[in-house]
């Protein structure tokens, strides 16, 4: 009887934990592990959505080509925080100051085409 009860309890415990594993996956807050992994991640997931040409056709790009000028972090921050005409503004809750610095660094090394 005792063995049966123990076996039943063990089965119930496994069933309960399995149910919990399927239905509940509490994740940490995204900000706790950085909203963007690095400058490239932020560039790809936000900036490049508009500031990239499509098949080299600049007129199909939503926003201006950013490869012609090397933008420092302060200049980028001005545009990001204020927006500009068709470009919306982004608050720090979307793109933090630290991420803007990372984006500037990534752009200088990978987007800017030089003189």
């Amino acid at each position: 009887m005792k063995a049966t009860m123990l076996r039943l309890a063990a089965v119930a415990a496994v069933a309960l934990s399995a149910q919990a594993a399927v239905a509940e996956t509490i994740t940490e807050r995204l900000d706790d592990r950085n909203y963007f992994a690095d400058g490239k991640d932020a560039w790809d997931k936000v900036c490049a959505r508009c500031h990239t040409t499509v098949d080299g056709k600049t007129d199909q790009s939503v926003g201006p080509d950013l490869s012609q000028i090397e933008y420092d972090a302060d200049t980028l921050k001005h545009f990001v925080r204020n927006g500009h005409l068709a470009m919306p503004a982004f608050s720090a809750s979307h793109i933090s100051d630290a991420t803007i610095v990372e984006i500037a660094d990534y752009m200088a090394k990978n987007i800017y085409k030089g003189e």
Binding site: T25, I26, L30, V54, D55, Q60, S91, A92
Partner: protein, 520 residues
């Protein structure tokens, strides 16, 4: 008397009392999460509405990350009579962005409240916090090999499912009627109570995200497009990823075709042969995401018809450009594709385009991306339609809803075009056709850096609402500057009921006063 300075004050609140409220917010949230300086608030000011943004300026932004903090914020707002306007991602550009309804309202920014609380792999449900973006959820599904499609609106990556659904926005997959695919929410009420709707009130329930209706009155609806509570969690359903996805387009060359083709394709939608909403994009809506009109026209006023014809010919666009998709097994898609082809080819006017010949080209690619919930912001090319690198930045969605019949289309398109052209603007529109309803989505695009043009855009939009209402057409959603006018088109009884509910649930009127024309 406080010597603290603020960029604006809520109506009827003294500087001294507002300073006390701000100090209370700082105690609960931390100083770094209470934004009052011009510098920190600047990103929240810019809107695309045809108004002076100063009229819709907030006095402060407070950032909360837990339900308990939201309850405390609401308590402080009640104590000091400070109104509060909640945003999740604030990326609703054509409907107001971060703009509040009454100048000086505090914005509660829930962007940092961004946990993906759970995703059920077997049932295809998710429970989310308001700050989760579509990009974040998309990444999570990919990283965890969860085979589901998202359904997102055109802003996709930077917008979020909770905010979009709370405003009853739409997407382009078979799950595109977002509020229909929402199941259960958690709401903080004006008195600080926390309500879980549907099955959520049952202790230990597992059905909160699977059964919408619960017991008794269905309450989820009253919290959408309203100001009766602050949503802190929302359940949504996720579409299982099909084995085969086949996007396609149909190009029609004549403006008059719209009447026939809506009726032609409706049975395919009603029978679920085509399971997603069918989009019928007019020439300029098709062109704007990929070019500026300056490529063909550098003049003032609306784009002349001969230039529109030139754009069609040189960019390879139709008068009406239809997009839809098929989803299912190889066998299902093959059967349904043959049905679609038979209807289109039998009619004889449209040219079918598919991924085989158009993959990677725009605008086909961004439409194909949206119809499977991929992240793209190509449609934002609309915002630089009038001038590619100079002016622009003004946009308002005018979106009347009507019955999904071809007979509705020609007159509506004609009326909208006449009014827009009269004010010097282009008809940039598409029909998103569901089973029985049709959203006529028109982007009123203008140069917000030009004061005179901005005033014209305001007058144009006002007339659109007025003239369409005279014919029995009303919009399903609108930006902050026109909420009262639109509320009037739905009649006195609805306004009275909304006011009655507001007085019962928020007697001090602190939650988003004026949203959808609702006040105490």
């Amino acid at each position: 008397m406080s010597d603290r300075e603020f960029v604006a004050l809520p109506e009827g609140v003294s500087q001294e009392n507002f300073a006390k409220a701000v100090a209370a917010f700082e105690t609960v949230l931390g100083v770094e999460n209470v934004l009052t300086s011009e510098e920190r608030l600047t990103p929240y000011f810019k809107t695309m509405m045809p108004v002076d943004d100063d009229l819709y300026k907030m006095s402060a932004v407070v950032q909360a990350t837990t339900v308990e903090q939201v309850q405390e914020v609401v308590k402080i707002c009640n104590e000091f009579n400070v109104p509060v306007w909640t945003v999740s991602t604030g990326r609703n550009f054509g409907y107001g962005t971060y703009g509040v309804s009454k100048r000086g309202t505090v914005v509660l920014d829930l962007k940092h409240m961004n946990k993906i609380i759970s995703v059920d792999r077997e049932l295809g449900t998710a429970l989310l916090e308001p700050g989760v973006t579509y990009q974040q959820l998309f990444d999570y599904l990919q990283e965890n090999d969860l085979p589901f499609y998202l359904s997102c609106p055109a802003p996709s990556a930077i917008a979020g499912p909770v905010g979009n659904t709370m405003d009853r926005g739409v997407g382009y997959t078979p799950y595109g009627e977002h509020f229909m695919m929402q199941c259960g929410m958690e709401v903080v009420l004006a008195d600080g109570q926390v309500l879980r709707t549907g099955m959520g009130g049952v202790e230990g329930t597992t059905a909160w995200q699977v059964f919408k209706w619960g017991y008794g009155p269905y309450l989820d609806g009253i919290f959408t497009q309203s100001n009766y509570g602050i949503c802190t969690k929302m359940g949504i359903w996720l579409m299982p990823k099909p084995p085969v996805y086949k996007p396609f387009g149909i190009i029609y060359d004549n403006d008059e075709d719209i009447e026939e083709i809506v009726d032609l394709l409706r049975p395919l939608r009603l029978s679920n042969t085509i399971p997603n909403a069918i989009v019928y994009a007019n020439t300029l809506y098709e062109a704007a995401p990929i070019i500026s009109r300056r490529k063909y026209f550098d003049g003032e006023g609306h784009t002349p018809q001969e230039v529109i014809q030139e754009i069609r010919e040189k960019e390879g666009l139709g008068a009406w450009n239809v997009y839809a998709a098929l989803y299912g097994t190889k066998e299902q898609v093959e059967v349904n594709w043959n049905l679609v082809k038979a209807v289109v080819e039998g009619h004889g006017k449209g040219r079918l385009i598919t991924e085989e010949d158009h993959a990677g080209t725009q605008p086909f690619q961004y439409r194909a991306d949206l119809m499977r919930g991929y992240m793209t912001m190509q449609e934002f090319g609309l915002y630089r339609w009038r001038d590619d690198r100079g002016q622009g930045g003004g946009s308002m969605w005018f979106a009347p809803v009507t019955v999904a019949k071809g007979s509705e289309t020609l007159d509506q398109t004609k009326l909208a075009t006449e009014i827009l052209n009269k004010y010097g603007f282009d008809y940039v529109g598409e029909y998103i056709v569901g089973m029985r309803d049709m959203h006529h989505i028109i982007d009123v695009l203008f140069d917000k850096s030009n004061e005179e043009e901005t005033k014209r855009a305001y007058d144009c939009f006002k007339e659109l609402i007025e003239k369409f209402a005279e014919k029995g057409y009303a919009v399903y959603r609108v930006n902050n500057a026109f909420m009262d006018q639109v509320a009037d088109t739905f009649g006195e009884a609805q306004r009275n009921i909304n006011r009655t509910l507001k007085r019962a649930l928020d007697p001090k009127g602190i939650l988003a006063p004026g949203k959808s024309g609702i006040d105490i």
